[in-house]
Symmetry: C2
Subunit: 417 residues, 2 copies
């Protein structure tokens, strides 16, 4: 039995459009992976009356059916944090300070050379929860989360709005709790990525022909990303899931992958391989992506940003005649860039990117979106790939960087270890 | 008289967390600039029953007070687009095809070598609106928007969910309509950025002491970003706004700025200045940020990614003794990096970043978040700044890159043109 799930986020910065609510989507995505569908998102400003009346409606709804409300925000130390106060009004309960959180807060103060008595009342307030509720420890920040009963099989979950605190609390504290509150069959999930293919094409070519055979007993979902779509399949039937993935791999042998970001990270680490990059149109985005994961310093050495033609010549020694005769965006220059790069850095892998990110600079033969990516593999071979990526400047740059990482993935994948 | 504003977006991809709803925040922001505050965001899946019952509740609410519902999504050609059908159920009206939209659609088909009779019924459906409503032309896509009366001084606005269509329709068609429906005084707005200061400190130090004098007749808002907060002030009184900005500049002379990204872009272009970067912990993020705007190739030349110590020595010739004795994250190395950079690139500005992005690598004297930023100015002077930025790896890297751009801003600001 699945509850009617509502995600409620509070924050005047959200309803004023000054911040984007990324929490609700993240939670919905996590719940989807657990096999639950969210029925509604609600976002309210930091207005205790609006929040209370919303919670009252949800409590009324819980008289008809099981309702799960997951609320984020309003547990902080400032005067516009109203969540606890509002929940106490809703339930008529009193609150108490959670001992563990109090100790944690004291230790944090002590580590800064302050004492228990220095703790400001509004900071201390974050350790309070309603009496008799289930508490959710915060291992990142101060504010304690909690689960309050609001009806038969109905619960109100309150968590901080700070994403790093919320996501940690959700995964470590709330998920085990939810599995106890709403036990269900174990749902299995498989995810694969497909590169440079649209959602609707995938649906036409893969989902529709296999609908009767596969998708009566399995759920599917697709998310579009820059350069790839993520295909998610869910079922309680492991065998069916394996069949789906098998057919997918047979149908799309050249554009299928797993999560390339973590694969590349793990394999470069595991094989003690190094990499360097030289970027033109992406201006540093590929380097940024390759250094997002802690520990990337073991394989990512560095490289060059050769945005201008002068820098391509000056830093890498590419003859200006090469650039002039073939154009800065050409297979020839991409090759010269990656060769020049590896000569200077001596890394196992080298990647070069040169392209037209737009909105200007396109021509008949080289429209905006044209990108050449060169890859030098550990065996010394250099290959250059040419693409025309869709979308605006930002999309083209994201697409080019992600595709470069896909090329590294493919090269690593074919290596015999 | 302001209505109670609700923004309602529909889409199963939103409530599944596969796509992020950027429309609601964008609309709220536009409305805020017009002087209106949004009271609630609601997001629903493509479920006609859930949508109808939500619209019915909002219609009921409109019996108590003026309500403005701005709805996006569900006007497209696919089978899960339910908005028109649901609104017709709500009002009991019939629909008709808007002549202008029909003509436009026909022209689009003809331009693709097809005829009127080729138009698929579900595509044609997008030209329909409820009888007797105010229509909102779509100059980007096909689906027509509309404004339906749902009570006294209460309206339901329906617009497509495709951002490019919605934003165009909002600005060109809806805003003039809203100004007629809810006439009000002209609101003025000023925005300033403050660097490396928290929201609550700003509120304590600036808003509270000036509350009586300024903020009875002016609204304020703050958004937190990586490295800076954006302070927004609104009033119908220009003189009061000027006084607020004046006091802000007096109180925070060293950390105040305008939008540094567009300022730096405009000024580097306008003064024909060039810039190059050398990045360690940010791995390319600063270069990426400096090349986000079209036309940045006029000033951004390129530079180096020296993530590893070997690259710092190999590519820039920094003696390994310097790195070993002071540490890779030190004022000395930041200075050597930017000096080495400018020797190789010869640009007017040079920026170096070296820091500890974490989560590991921190020490007593150099905790995680320690970042040294070197800036070489066009007059040849080099200055190094040292920071300890808060947050996780991503936050520290964003913070460092943004702060580097703030340093360029400050240097450009003090130049006499």
């Amino acid at each position: 039995m699945s509850p009617f799930i509502v995600i409620l986020s509070t924050g005047s910065e959200l309803t004023a459009g000054r911040s984007l609510d990324t929490n609700s989507g993240w939670i919905a995505n996590q719940l989807f992976e657990l096999g639950w569908k969210v029925k509604k998102f609600i976002t309210l400003p930091d207005d205790p009356n609006l929040i209370l009346s919303e919670l009252q409606s949800l409590q009324t709804l819980a008289k008809e059916k099981p309702v799960l409300v997951i609320m984020t925000g309003g547990l902080g130390p400032t005067e516009d944090d109203y969540t606890l106060e509002t929940v106490l009004k809703l339930t008529g309960k009193t609150s108490y300070s959670v001992e563990k959180a109090k100790l944690r807060l004291t230790k944090i103060y002590e580590s800064r050379g302050k004492e228990y008595k220095d703790i400001l009342p509004n900071v201390f307030r974050q350790t309070f929860v309603p009496e008799g509720c289930k508490t959710l420890d915060n291992s990142v920040g101060i504010a304690v989360g909690f689960v309050e009963v609001i009806g038969e099989n109905s619960y109100l979950v309150c968590m901080p709005g700070v994403p790093s605190e919320m996501t940690e609390m959700f995964k470590r504290r709330l998920v085990p709790e939810l599995k106890k509150l709403y036990p269900r069959e174990n749902l299995l999930q498989k995810t694969k990525w497909l590169w440079n293919i649209g959602e609707s094409l995938f649906q036409n070519d893969f989902i529709e022909p296999n609908r009767d055979e596969f998708f009566k007993e399995a759920e599917w979902g697709v998310t579009a990303n820059r350069g790839y779509i993520k295909c998610i399949f869910q079922s309680t039937n492991q065998n069916l899931l394996d069949q789906i993935i098998n057919r997918l791999e047979t149908q799309y042998p050249n554009i299928i992958s797993d999560d390339v970001f973590s694969f590349v990270h793990e394999r470069l680490l595991g094989e003690n391989l190094t990499i360097s990059v030289v970027e033109s149109c992406t201006g540093g985005l590929l380097g940024k992506k390759l250094t997002e994961q802690p520990g990337s310093s073991a394989y990512f050495m560095g490289g060059f940003l050769t945005y201008s033609n002068e820098m391509k010549s000056q830093l890498l020694g590419i003859p200006s005649e090469t650039i002039n005769s073939f154009g800065a965006v050409s297979e020839e220059v991409a090759k010269a860039m990656v060769d020049g790069l590896c000569l200077k850095t001596g890394t196992d892998f080298g990647i070069s990117i040169t392209g037209i990110a737009g909105p200007d600079g396109g021509s008949e033969g080289k429209p905006v979106g044209t990108v050449c990516i060169g890859i030098k593999e550990p065996n010394g071979e250099t290959t250059v790939f040419r693409y025309v990526f869709p979308g605006n400047r930002e999309a083209i740059r994201e697409n080019a960087s992600n595709t470069a990482i896909f090329l590294i993935y493919q090269s690593l994948k074919k290596r015999v270890i």
